[in-house]
Amino acid sequence: MKKGIAFCFCAVMLLIHGACSEKQDFGQWDDFEVVPTLEASLVYVEAIEAMFNVAQPNVVYTMDINFDAFNAEFFEERVVSGEITYQLENTTSKPLALEIDFLDDNGAVLFSEDFTLSPGPDSEDRTTLFGGESPNNIAIITSTSALRASVTNLGDASSTSSLPDPKLVIRTSGQFMLQFKGSQ
């Protein structure tokens, strides 16, 4: 009986002691990357045609829009690359020139986008890359604290579009990769 007990005891101990595990590599954790791509709308600008008829042609309308999202600490420290998508729509009767400037804290222009729109209906879609393999350094984005939109009426100041609710619409969205863990 004692031999039996000893045998069973040893069997259980061996079972537990004999437990094994295939080789694991916990060092892989260092390679784990948390780099989500987040996207959201940025700025929406709308200007009705009547605004362009108030002033003479070739007058530049300029507006600075404070935009601190890019240099917020949470974003600035983590963004590695991204893209900004523009969707412009002109339903006025005038050709329009549009310039969007990225300004730093001192008002200096870091980057510009130029668009020319024919009399409406006309539209343009554009996506500009920053960081990664793009020639546009991501620092442009992280240093930007305001956007300046400048619109020039290249046509007359009296015509009215036959399209309903004629206006210039600027739609923008951003898509950015933020690195929380790992390397890119």
Binding site: M1, I5, V12, A19, V34, T37, E39, A40, S41, Y44
Partner: protein, 481 residues
């Protein structure tokens, strides 16, 4: 060996919690700790005393969707691909990680001298229990982002977790009413060391095509995390002026010995033997709650915002060129989303466990078998213990997302009083191949037991999605009190 230990520890940590499923111990009346699963269990000795800190050590860990091996196997594959395959795509929000430890500090019991049909037991044990459901949508949002998930409503309710460490002071009694019935109860006093729970979250985050701008972001949230005891722990860990381990031990001792949050609970059970060879039993364990009123720290996140970014409408915007549209957007979000914290007291229910078992025994009763140990036959002993017992057990625990059931079949073989072996097969959400083996060994007055679950998993511990091991050492007497 180091690799094995590391893998085991990592399995426990990675697998968090499975819930206290101790089917091998239930009904194993040779082991005194079976009283903790059914207070009506009929023990056949006069008294017992658990060896302090060694009378019951239980470690369990489980994951219903992924194993350590799935992620950390040394197979040359990119860990990012493995996490995407096995976790982001392979797991659902119903999958969970769970872990339990149960360490008896003191445990003893004795038969009433004036009424041998009455058996009292008492003790103190420490329990750590935690469960976290897989935060699938939040993990996708955090790891991959929302860019490729237009119109997907990320579910904030995927955050569903609770956990606690507490000491349990208990005293129980089992009473044999007649040859068929026995009943038992156990009163418990909980002394919580720490607790956290976030189980009633609702809300979504959605990115849709915008109406004016390109995209519309919508956040609806009604979320709360309640905690007690954790802030003191964080404060200690942040304080470099003292030894963390000493300060944590002091804190654990204070809060665990009735100096923290308190609660009460009850275990109830019965056994019914319609015939000498048939037994039906059932029990409720941890029918109780803890009232958290010390060192509570709760966090809330509620509200609803819909935004398409900064909006500038001309020529109206030219009237006030100094208007800060970005700040307007921030103000709108802050006005509509409330992120706060408070220290309100709260109640946390204990995870109620329900067991029921039906068994049939046969073979020569133990009393008639040869025995090489020295014991005294006592008339107040429970039902005769036959050499063989076969039966089934149903178990469930109340978890934040409902019942978590398990079914088990078992066979027990007794070799006199000295040795008893029990094998089980269990089906639950974690595994369909859970073979368990338990052994109770008595050498003189010393009782040693080991119960191991999911033995097939021991072939490759890292690949196992459920691991459970219970060991214990008691001193037992069949003599007078």
């Amino acid at each position: 060996m180091l690799r094995f230990v590391l893998t085991g520890l990592f399995t426990m940590v990675f697998c968090w919690v499975q819930g206290q499923q101790r089917q091998l111990l239930y009904g194993f009346s040779e082991i005194p700790q079976s009283l903790l699963l059914n207070p009506a269990e009929q023990l056949d000795y006069s008294w017992y005393a658990g060896v302090p800190m060694l009378s019951s050590v239980v470690v369990q860990g489980a994951s219903s969707g992924v194993s350590v091996h799935d992620i950390f196997a040394d197979d040359g594959a990119d860990i990012n691909d493995k996490i995407r395959e096995h976790m982001l795509q392979g797991m659902s929000a119903k999958d969970d990680f769970s872990a339990t430890t149960h360490i008896e500090i003191l445990h003893g019991g004795f038969r009433a001298s004036h009424d041998p049909s009455l058996f009292f037991s008492f003790g103190l044990y420490n329990e750590l229990d935690a469960i976290s459901y897989w935060m699938k949508d939040l993990a996708i949002l955090g790891i991959e982002g929302n860019a490729n998930y237009l119109r997907k409503a990320f579910n904030m309710g995927d955050l569903n977790t609770r956990g606690e460490m507490l000491n349990v002071f208990h005293i129980g009694a089992s009473k044999k009413l007649n040859s068929k019935w026995s009943v038992g109860g156990r009163a418990k006093l909980y002394s919580s060391i720490f607790n956290f729970k976030s189980t009633q979250n609702e809300g979504t985050f959605t990115t849709d095509p915008g109406e004016d701008n390109l995209l519309r972001s919508t956040l609806e949230a009604d979320m709360e995390l309640q905690s007690s005891g954790l802030k003191e722990i964080y404060d200690i860990l942040d304080d470099d002026s003292q030894s963390n381990s000493k300060a944590l031990a002091k804190l654990g001792l204070k809060r665990g010995l009735l100096g923290g949050d308190l609660g009460v609970g009850l275990d109830l059970g019965f056994t019914y033997n319609p015939t000498a060879q048939t037994r039906w039993s059932a029990s409720l364990v941890d029918l109780g709650f803890v009232y958290h009123f010390t060192n509570t720290q709760n966090y809330t996140f509620t509200g609803e915002v819909v935004t398409e970014g900064v909006e500038v409408i001309l020529p109206g915007a030219l009237l006030d060129p100094d208007d800060d549209y970005w700040q307007d957007l921030i103000d709108y979000v802050e006005d509509n989303i409330d992120y706060g914290d408070n220290s309100q007291n709260y109640i946390a229910m204990r995870p109620l466990k329900v067991y029921t078992s039906l068994s049939h025994s046969w073979g020569e009763p133990k009393e008639k078998q040869d025995c090489d140990c020295d014991y005294r036959t006592m008339a107040h002993r429970g039902a005769p213990q036959y050499a063989n017992t076969v039966g089934g057990l149903a178990y469930t625990i109340i978890r934040p997302r409902g019942l978590q059931p398990a079914l088990a079949g078992f066979y027990q073989r007794r070799f006199g009083r000295a040795l008893s072996l029990k094998a089980s097969y269990t089906v639950d959400r974690y595994t369909w191949s859970n073979l368990g083996l338990g052994m109770n060994l008595r050498v003189g007055p010393v009782n040693f037991y080991v119960l191991a679950d999911n033995l097939l998993g021991y072939q490759n511990l890292a690949a196992s999605q459920y691991t459970s091991l219970q060991i214990g050492l008691n001193v037992i007497s069949w003599g007078n009190n």
